[in-house]
Amino acid sequence: MTENDTARPRTLAEKVWDAHLVKKGSGGEPDLIYIDLHLVHEVTSPQAFDGLRAAGRPVRRPDLTIATEDHNTPTLAIDRPIADLTSRTQIETLRTNAREFGVRLHSLGDIEQGIVHVVGPQLGLTQPGITVVCGDSHTSTHGAFGAMAFGIGTSEVEHVLATQTLPLKPFKTMAITVDGELRPGVTAKDIILAVIARIGTGGGQGYVLEYRGSAIRALSMDGRMTICNMSIEAGARAGMVAPDQTTFDYLHGRPHAPKGADWDDAVEYWKTLATDDGATFDAEVLIDAAALEPFVTWGTNPGQGVSLSESVPDPSSVEDLNERAAAERALEYMDLAAGTPLKDIAVDAVFMGSCTNSRIEDLRAFASIVAGRKKADGVRVMVVPGSARVRLEAEAEGLDKVFTEFGAEWRFAGCSMCLGMNPDQLAPGERCASTSNRNFEGRQGKGGRTHLVSPLVAAATAIRGTLSSPWDLQAEPAPMAMGGAR
């Protein structure tokens, strides 16, 4: 790097990129970028390991690689063999590959098992200023620490296993500034759903997003992870938040965080990562946090969302013809009529979980609303922690009892009904308020209908049986106890 380069004001994303440049591409060639942390799971890794085997190549840096079982794992009876043959084969293949190539693996039943994007941060492996990849689009989650993190395909997984690098084309930067104070009942999930509704599912294409502003600074790490997690739903390569004291406090003392003098060196470096004054972004978006309300999607892509106080939009009011057609198709699939108040929509199921919202704070938020109440009749409520550790932590706080007394199912850790690769699926035609990240057709089960919501909205909806926010509960009798509230 020349002096000129360091003198120019740079964004957080540019600093991380520059610090990982193994080789600058020339004449249209991509740059070669070093990867600090490679997360692996059972679905997108089998062919990558097989490719290494065929070429006689080792995993270059097993000490920068970690695997966990999550997509296919059952969330009930985890001590019994997995019934589905394809799922079982994928998991057994990962176990064989991890043994053969010396990769650390946290299997079903292990205390560190869980959704790969919950496990990395929890172990302190996800740190500011690093590059993180995984054969999973929601790798963007790790950007909450000021890391550059993105999902890759199976061929790229093999490339990283073999070389610990990736050829990558440079990106553009977009600042998403969320200023002001969120109203009570409005959370990180509502911010990101509003951002996606604003810029669209393709609005972030080619960009790394940096979330800035007072509302982002006020969020906990769990909240920041929720926001960065869904950057991919706006089409972005990655989403990032500059590290600050909140980040450092979260990391301090975690198993793989730097220790002693190393910690001080690391923090000193991490503090240099924030975007310089005077650095320019290729695009900027401003969001007023104080104006946000609890949000919900009505359609079949994450950009089709509105405030919960509104009604299902009328496709004929959409100017763009492609988007109008998409809205019409979405309403047909979702079996919704334009003009229906969202709060009149009854659900069959509530899913509380996924790499977007399955961390301890998410569970506490859900518990704070449902404590001492009973779920609506006929609504199936499933609570799935993001990792075995989150499950234990929740149980130590008594949250499991809050959930089961409410009438919810308390499950083991995994991706679960977010994508229905395991038995946790919606039946055709079933409608679900889900804290996950994708409301695509059939995502949660063939014919299933998904409304994306925050944990607080999921909780209120589970109580009333119709899409609701905590604001709708205030008129009702106060709960008997607030056991899990924080």
Partner: protein, 206 residues
């Protein structure tokens, strides 16, 4: 990836156009966990038919597929290339290829060579006159020869170079392994490592 120079082997006169990747390998075979062993999946639908050309004894061990225009269109599945390779094919000749298929081929060591449509017709005629006859494909000279007939083919220089050198994406990156090692030598020692495993017990001892 093996270095590609010349291939001499049995050629199949594949008189079909618009062969999409769903035909090359149906979606049902995509659930597998391996990158090899797809030979049974190649043209799985068509192979049900005993008259299908690959079921004929003369073409039992083919290495070169001589196809009609627009081969490998449709879905991006890398499995289409894997299935052709696993079956034993080193070369596909066609007047036009699907873009993604052609890109995937180059990465996996399968030569997708563009041959003019009338030359394809001549190759078909020559093979059909003597089923099981061998063709020779010379990548350096960019020619296909059978008996007295020799025709040229097109391939972009970058892909040709990669095939001749036997370089896949990983091989290309590892050409500069010294650069990766230099970078690694300069990394801060406190950057996160997954190994050795750290947990409550190791933390207490520390």
């Amino acid at each position: 990836m093996q270095k590609f120079e010349t291939v001499t082997g049995v050629a199949v006169p594949f008189r079909r156009s618009n062969v999409d990747t769903d035909q090359i390998i149906p979606a049902v075979y995509l659930k597998r966990v391996t990158k090899t062993g797809f030979e049974d999946a190649l043209f799985a639908g068509w192979r049900q038919d005993p008259e299908f050309i690959l079921n004929q004894p003369a073409y039992a061990s083919p290495r070169i597929l001589v196809a009609g225009p627009d081969f490998g269109t449709g879905s991006s599945r890398e499995h289409a290339v894997w299935a052709l390779r696993d079956y034993g094919f080193d070369v596909v000749l066609s007047p036009r290829f699907g873009d993604i298929f052609r890109g995937n081929s180059g990465k996996q060591g399968l030569l997708a060579a563009e041959v003019a449509e009338d030359d394809i017709e001549r190759l078909w005629a020559a093979i059909e006159a003597e089923p099981g006859i061998e063709l020779t494909v010379d990548l350096v000279a960019k020619t296909v020869a059978v008996g007295a007939l020799s025709v040229g083919f097109e391939i972009d220089d970058y892909t040709k170079w990669r095939l001749l050198e036997g370089l896949d994406d990983i091989g290309l990156t590892l050409q500069d392994e010294a650069g990766i090692e230099r970078f690694e030598a300069g990394r801060e020692h406190w950057r996160p490592r997954t190994l050795p495993v750290q947990n409550e017990e190791t933390l207490e001892k520390a």
